[in-house]
């Protein structure tokens, strides 16, 4: 046949096809978007700093000035710290807070941001240098956030959560089982941190700069928080589980001590979107003394202000500014009758201040309670005093140790002075509540639901804080089978106490 003579042409044709096939390399060069970084090109150290900053931003507020934008703002208001100032009207979530009736949709943002944060910590744990501090540190952070989630919602997606390739409709686990596993998670984190070595990844640790001892102290403190939350309503203080878990804390770095606030600072500066998140939410616009909307919107709640004034607490001028003529004014939640005192210099220290995730003061108050309840040995009175001292120090009072000691010793108020108190737990939690003003409303809300302290709501009062948040609306549309299995699809579910609550 004629074509046989053209073998050459056929071979050339196949040659051409081979040239085509050689372009296959190009097929492979096209996996990654040049417009940004794919996650495959990153390791844990590239995500860890962001994850830490997101954790503290979720807690303290966002850098966008708007009405209640802080995930735990409801707790800050319910625990009597801040309230709406005169001249403003509440709408949406702000209005719901004031009638103690948060709706399903109010929790969407809180839920999404915490779970996405966990998703990032999962990445750091799975993609970091094995012997670096990041996997262990991330495991502690993750445990803390899961605890925050379950403390607000009860049963939550846990074992299947934040793993989209495994499930996009994760099932819910029981809050009690989650707590048990979280303690185990912190234990294994402590093992990981103990075995870790200093690596270049430490640079991404914008909380403790790779310090093993501080991470261990933080992990132990979070473990104490997990155990203490279950005492006395779930666990007895002297159970072998509690004592076993706390037995070797001292040998593993102890708790956060004096001056050891867990703070996060990625390099905050006084520029748009780059301020400390608390400052960006409640403080002033960059380079000015003109307050953001939340600065004007919120003022002192009369509950905390009355307490501070009644006990002549020297911290009052650090939490709040005098309203006018050197007098302090506060508003009851939902009744803004006066131009109340605005946030003070102890809370708004500087736009570049490190963001407070967990204070040394809280650590001492928790230890004081644990000792007082008999969970571990120690000097409750001394730990209590250190809690107040650390609060004075954080807020910037001069000579904080002596000033705090004088404040306690000079007071005849059982809410201040443990020595005159017939109810030491009440006194400890009362001062813990004061120290947490504006800094950790969620922890105060947790203590209140667990112990009833501080007793800022009259028994049988009509308006009291909800026992829990409702599951977000998005779960009912996107994970309905699992969320409906919890039987909490009505507003009435807000009255169901958490398993560790009173």
């Amino acid at each position: 046949m004629y074509i046989i003579k053209n073998k050459r042409s056929l071979s050339l044709l196949f040659g051409a096809v081979l040239i085509l096939m050689s372009c296959t390399k190009k097929l492979n060069t096209n996996q990654v978007d040049p417009n940004g970084l794919a996650i495959s090109s990153l390791t844990g150290k590239d995500v860890f700093a962001q994850a830490l900053n997101a954790t503290v931003t979720n807690k303290l507020g966002t850098n966008i000035s708007s009405f209640p934008s802080d995930n735990y703002d409801y707790a800050t208001e319910w625990m009597g710290y801040f309230s709406r100032n005169s001249g403003y009207s509440a709408s949406g979530i702000g209005a719901h807070i004031e009638i103690y009736a948060l709706s399903f949709s109010d929790a969407n943002g809180n839920w999404q941001s915490l779970y996405h944060n966990i998703y990032d910590y999962n990445f750091v744990m799975g993609n970091s240098t094995a012997n670096s501090i990041l996997p262990g540190a991330s495991r502690v952070m993750r445990a803390m956030i899961f605890e925050d989630l379950t403390d607000q919602f009860g049963n939550i997606p846990y074992s299947q959560a934040a793993q989209p390739n495994a499930s996009i409709t994760p099932a819910y686990d029981s809050a009690a089982a989650i707590y048990k596993d979280l303690v185990a998670q912190v234990d294994s984190a402590i093992t990981e941190i103990s075995a870790s070595q200093s690596t270049a990844d430490d640079a991404s640790d914008i909380m403790f700069k790779g310090s093993k001892s501080l991470w261990l102290a933080f992990a132990n403190t979070i473990k104490l928080r997990l155990l203490l939350r279950q005492v006395p309503n779930v666990l007895s203080a002297n159970s072998s589980y509690v004592s076993g878990e706390l037995s070797n804390v001292a040998g593993q770095g102890g708790f956060l001590g004096a001056g050891q606030d867990a703070t996060i600072n990625p390099g905050y500066v006084d520029a748009s979107e780059e301020q400390n998140p608390f400052w960006g939410d409640y403080g002033y616009e960059p380079g000015s003394t003109s307050g953001y909307q939340n600065f004007n919107y919120f003022g002192a709640n009369s509950t905390i202000l009355d307490t501070l004034l009644a006990t002549s607490d020297p911290r009052v001028g650090f939490f709040f500014n005098p309203a006018s003529g050197n007098t302090y004014l506060g508003n009851a939640l939902g009744s803004p009758l006066v131009g109340a005192s605005q946030l003070g210099k102890g809370l708004l220290q500087s736009p570049s201040q490190a963001a407070l995730l967990f204070s040394a003061s809280q650590s001492f108050f928790m230890q004081a309670e644990a000792v007082q309840r008999g969970m571990m040995s120690g000097n409750a009175a001394m730990l209590f005093r250190q809690g107040v001292e650390e609060s004075f120090r954080y807020l910037g009072l001069a000579n904080p140790v002596s000033a705090a000691d004088a404040f306690i010793a000079g007071s005849a108020d059982p809410g201040v002075n443990l020595a005159v108190s017939g109810n030491p737990i009440s006194t400890i939690l009362n001062q813990k509540w004061v120290a947490e003003c504006g800094l950790d409303g969620l922890e105060a809300y947790n203590d209140y639901r667990r112990t009833g302290y501080p007793a800022i709501y009259a028994p049988n009062a009509a308006n009291v804080p909800q026992q829990r948040l409702l599951y977000p609306e998005t779960e009912f549309t996107l994970n309905s089978a699992n969320v409906n299995a919890q039987n909490e699809a009505t507003q009435a579910a807000t009255a169901i106490p958490l398993f560790w609550a009173q």
Partner: protein
Amino acid sequence: MRKLLLLLSIWLGGLAVATAQTKEVTGKVTDNAGAPVPYATIQIKGSKVTSIADADGNFAIRAAAGDILVITSSGVTKREVPVQNAVSGWNIVVTRVSQNLSEVVVTTALGIRRQARDLGYATTQIKTAQLNQAAVVNPATGLAAKVSGVDIRLADNGVNPQVKVTFRGSRSIEGDNAALVVVDGVPVDQTYLPNINPADIQDVTVLKGSNAAALYGMAASNGVMVISTKKGKGKFSLNYSNTVSVESISYFPPFQSEYSGYGGEPTGAWPNPPGGAGSLIYYVNPYTGLPNTVPFENEDYGNAYNSNDFRPDSIPIGINANGQWIFVPYKAVPNGRKDFFQKGIGDQNKLSASMANSWGGLYISGEHTTKQGVVPKDTYSRTGGRINGNLNFGRFSASGGVSYNNTTTDIAGNSYNQYRPVYFDVLNQLPSTDLKSVKNTNLFQNDQGFVNAYFPNPWWQVNNSRAKNSTNQLVSNLQLNYKLTGWLSITARGGYSRSSTSAPAYIDSINFPAFLANLSPGTFQWGTDSYNPGSQAYESEDIKDHYWDANGDAFLTFNKEVNQFKFTVLAGGNYRERSSYGYWASNQVTEGPYLGQNFIPSGYTKVAAPTAANPDAAYAIYTYKRYDQSVYADATVGYDNWVFLHGSFRNDWTSILDPHDRSFSYPSVDASAVLSDKIEALKASPVSFLKVRIGYAGTGNVSLDGYKTMGVMGNIAAGTAAGGFSAQIPNYGAYAIYPITTTGAGFPYGSGPTSYTQSLTAVQTGLKPEHTQSLETGFELGLFKNRINLEATYYNQVSNNQTIPLQTSQASGISTFVTNAGKVNNSGIELDLHLTPLIRVSGFRFDLDANFAYQNSKVINIAGGSALLDQINYGTTSLGGIYAIAGKAYPQILATDFYRDPQGHIIVNGTTGLPSQNPNPVDMGNANYKYFFGITPRFSYKGVTLSAVFDYRGGAKILNEEGNVFDFAGASTSDAANRQAFIIPNSVINVGTASKPSYVNNTNVPVTSANGGNSSALYWWTDVYSEIGAPYVTSAAFIKLREIALSYELPKQWLGTQPVIRDVNVSLIGRNLFMWKPKTNIWSDPEFSTNATGNAVGYTTEFQTPPTRILSATISATIF
């Protein structure tokens, strides 16, 4: 790519040398009109040596002097020609006999020209004359209603409207359903289609089904529109044509003209003149409690014009440059708003030259088209040129072309604050406003030019808010063919196209006069920042994009007859590389007192990256690349020229999928039989032709998001859907399977480290393409010597593995998971009837073509039957949305509604007479048309031809969102009906309990109002009715007289004996002269669609201009 082409040309050159020594007869078979006769069989008489001509009639055969060549082909008479000597460039002329439908030569996949008779699937060809009979500017619009199963949907009547072309309904829930466009064998981006000079198009072949298109691989599951441009032919000739057109509003919704302006102003007073010491005019009459006229309102809930509550002589509309008030009469002005729109003049000039000889041909054309819109100052222009050439040199032939055009649109942009279009701002003027009288905005002292406290004078908008798009496009192709033997040839083809767009937009700054800001503090505040009433900052935006597409094919074609078998085989490979680059910068000043005054650039101004002085600027750059390659083969075996079996296979590799999943194949097989050639009984019957066919094909569609959205100012001119809020650049689905991380909020802080967070979107590992299986069967019937031709096709397509971005539980850490899920079934019937001619009596001839299509797209399931994810939303408004819903036709309209009883009556409150809104949207029906019916009659008598196109579409619903704009503003006639307290017609009251309802007709409870008195109309329309979508859903059916054209060919004797002008044709053309639609649809043209390019068809908004009609006149002359 370039390397490849170079290699191929060297290789072909080498072959030419290597084979030139063989003695052979080469030539071309043409008909008596000079047109090539493709695929003619050339046989040496008395031997088995045969050769088959190629698509252009070229053949080569080894023959000795004295042999006799027998030329046969369907549709021509057999001819025998003796071979004198071995020659080349021999032209053998054969005589055509009358053609039937199937003897048409059509362009099939890869640009291969084949006889329709041989094909096992439906194809339709539209010739240049049919396409251009109404002098269209956009070639796609010239196809409407002419072919069954082809849905041409026009987005609006702007100067450069988007057109969506879909064949046989929708297959993909989230992916692209628009047909692939191929020009001269090379796929081009769909955005090129509207910019082709329609006069350059030789024909358009519509490969409706995936059976026809399977050879194109993944791009072809939606069918292919194969466009062939003209080639040089005949002796040298020049053609010039000029078309002048006038476009005007053909339909405007009815307005009420009884009531003046009032929008719920409190009982306060307005000083007249403002700021002066004159008498006070009260918003609400303190004596009657009824609303007075408020001249700066946009809502028309005030007094009736025939009452005397307001100064009867005049109302103030603004202050002139001397500080004096301008008054207009206190009465409604007929057409005061409609007459804002102008008549748009269009002008098309086209010149082309063509010539050909046995060596080859050349076609050169140029055009310049300009158009004004019905919106004043809107303009469109297109300037372009094309050179097509072909060369025959023995066994070697080459053809190629290059075209270039610039298309520029310059249109009114959106207004400040809410980015409203001109039409919206026209609607929101008072009935007393004669817009023509306020055309000169310089008359007014203030920048705004008109007192309306909410929306600008539309004249201000056309002068001060502009959006532009200037696009340059280059499309080129080169095809080289070498005939290795009489039956084997090799083809190499390359295509390269590129496009670059610049789309700037701006909205000028405004300082509103203080009196407006001070009218009622806290009530009338301007600007986005409530602390800065009185100023509106300058905004500008610039969008640029570039993309290019390089495409190469190489394939062998094999044509051979062995005994009674005819084999046609093709095998080859393809490589395609696409790339795009986009740039967006915006300069929006949203904060700070009078910041807008700091820089007031004039006109379109470039915007740079943000600076300390201008921190509100935004800036982004995107770049995308995609590579694809394929191998394919296609074979047809014909037996005895009446049974044909055809199969094709293609395998694609694409860079946008994971290496494990990037290879996939598309098989297709079909068979056809021309029964009329074989069944003796038919030969005596009226049946002159009968062919049956059946086919199966598998195609795929990688439906990853294909566009990147840029911009914020709603620059409509930038090239997207009307009402869209951005421009789109093609990203070809590149990189979609590996979502990128984002920089953590605020990072880097100061000089600190940068850190990242994972995307909220994740993609299923091993994502696969959508897979469509298509079955097609049909017949073609010719009766009475083919004077009646009927084609019928039934198809059924099932598309699996839909690629869907599912919304996830947030507890999964993300919010969107892109995964394979869902199934769509799409089926239909197509009928095409040709009566050619129906009547022919002494010079009078009447032809009639008709086509009908039924199509039904249905979503079988979405997330595998999971109830919670069975609904995909394409965008929601307060009125409703367009959805894909499992078990329903696709797509579906859901709209908000009142609570109704089981009979559909509105349930009202027994005390207030008011209804309440049902929070669950109600299913209102499907948005894609199900029935299509086109009729194209054509009369001719001597040189006069009258042709028309009628188009019916039905079986769909439409959500007319702009109806809500009319009603909200109190501008509609329905508003005028219920000004006093009224009882909602056909309403019922529940006299039972909530659980055991019992409804009685409401005969005595009128709507009472929270606003008190008789202003209930305002409350009813703006607070109750405006959130309800159901009343705005109507049938989308229509009948249009799309085209009517009367043309006259000047008698030759008039031209005399002069050698220059060969013929002259004049024609008068009307487009969209009439539209009939159901009485319930009082709003707009139901063909319009806010989202022209996406899948969310089925709602119209104020972003489309009102329907228009176009009248035009064309003169064309052929010279030499």
